[in-house]
Subunit: 156 residues, 2 copies
DNA sequence: ACAAGATACTTGTATAATGCAAGTGAGATA
DNA sequence: TATCTCACTTGCATTATACAAGTATCTTGT
């Protein structure tokens, strides 16, 4: 997680490309927090269920910014804080995240964790698994985030 | 990568669930090899562009089997070999992988690696990025693998 | 104005995941 | 039956992640 070069990828395959950027334990979870739950500050991202460590969060935020998935800007109301918002490249991760939700929802192991999802979460899951309105739903999600909102805004 | 328990997940979120299972540098790349390229033996999986190490491959294959994504069976023609085939749970990863292809294809960094893709690979990419026929294409992919084939069969 | 708390970090150290190189034993091949 | 192929294992180096404690800057309440 230092000043590594971007290019020496293991191959030219697009699957490998995406895995090399996002294939870790935190990147997509943090993008979920920003895109779906509207968590935009260090403190908000820190106090989530997964309990990321402070040093890992700082390193990951710098990494995601370097990868062009988020942008950092000072909070106008509190000079201690920065706000992290998704770039267009980050917003385009929504389809991947939705398919991950659909995959989890289809398989037993996740349900065994208990039906602790909020109504908003469950509502998304139903739409994500339902092929009929999956793609229009995803487009609405992207549009909402582009306008400065977040996906679970209406259920929060 | 030892005999770890499955359940103590960091949260009950379906995104986190999927990330905890697939969020590493190799799982999805290996599933790509099996599902898209029809690579089914240790040796075939070892000799791919990404150059996985022998010990990592052995550990990952055991892991993917333990996660119920692949199934191991002896090769009928060569007693030294096993064959690894995707389970239904593994086949259901295809939509995630396709969205990862679409994401890479949309963004500059991947194209900078050079247009080294085979015609078959490029053909998939075009269809994966095109929302119109994405869903039926993905369903055909799944059906093909369920019948014992692999996605790039016809272009190989 | 000032003390106390909040916020976003850093630092130090431990464990886990990944990477590399060199073996090894069972089974196929000539 | 000698050699080669194949699927590994072992040992060690490096990188990523985890945990606990500390620190500098800014805000808040009095």
């Amino acid at each position: 997680m230092d000043g590594e070069a971007k290019l020496p990828m293991r191959s030219d395959c697009p699957v490998n490309f995406t895995v090399e950027i996002l294939g870790d334990k935190w990147s997509l979870v943090l993008m979920r927090d920003i895109l779906f739950w509207g968590k935009h500050t260090y403190g908000e991202l820190l106090n989530r269920d997964e309990r990321i460590s402070t040093n890992i969060l700082a390193a990951r935020l710098e990494y995601l910014e370097r990868q062009g998935l988020i942008q950092r800007e000072p909070d106008p109301k509190d000079k201690r804080k920065d706000r992290f918002r998704a770039t267009e490249r980050g917003i385009e991760l929504i389809p991947i995240i939705v398919e991950m939700v659909a995959w989890a929802a289809k398989h037993e192991g996740w349900h065994a964790l208990g039906p602790k999802g909020s109504p908003g979460q469950m509502s998304l899951i139903r739409r994500a698994v339902n092929t009929k309105n999956k793609y229009p739903t995803i487009e609405k999600f992207k549009e909402k985030v582009r306008k400065g909102g977040y996906i679970f805004e209406d259920f929060a």
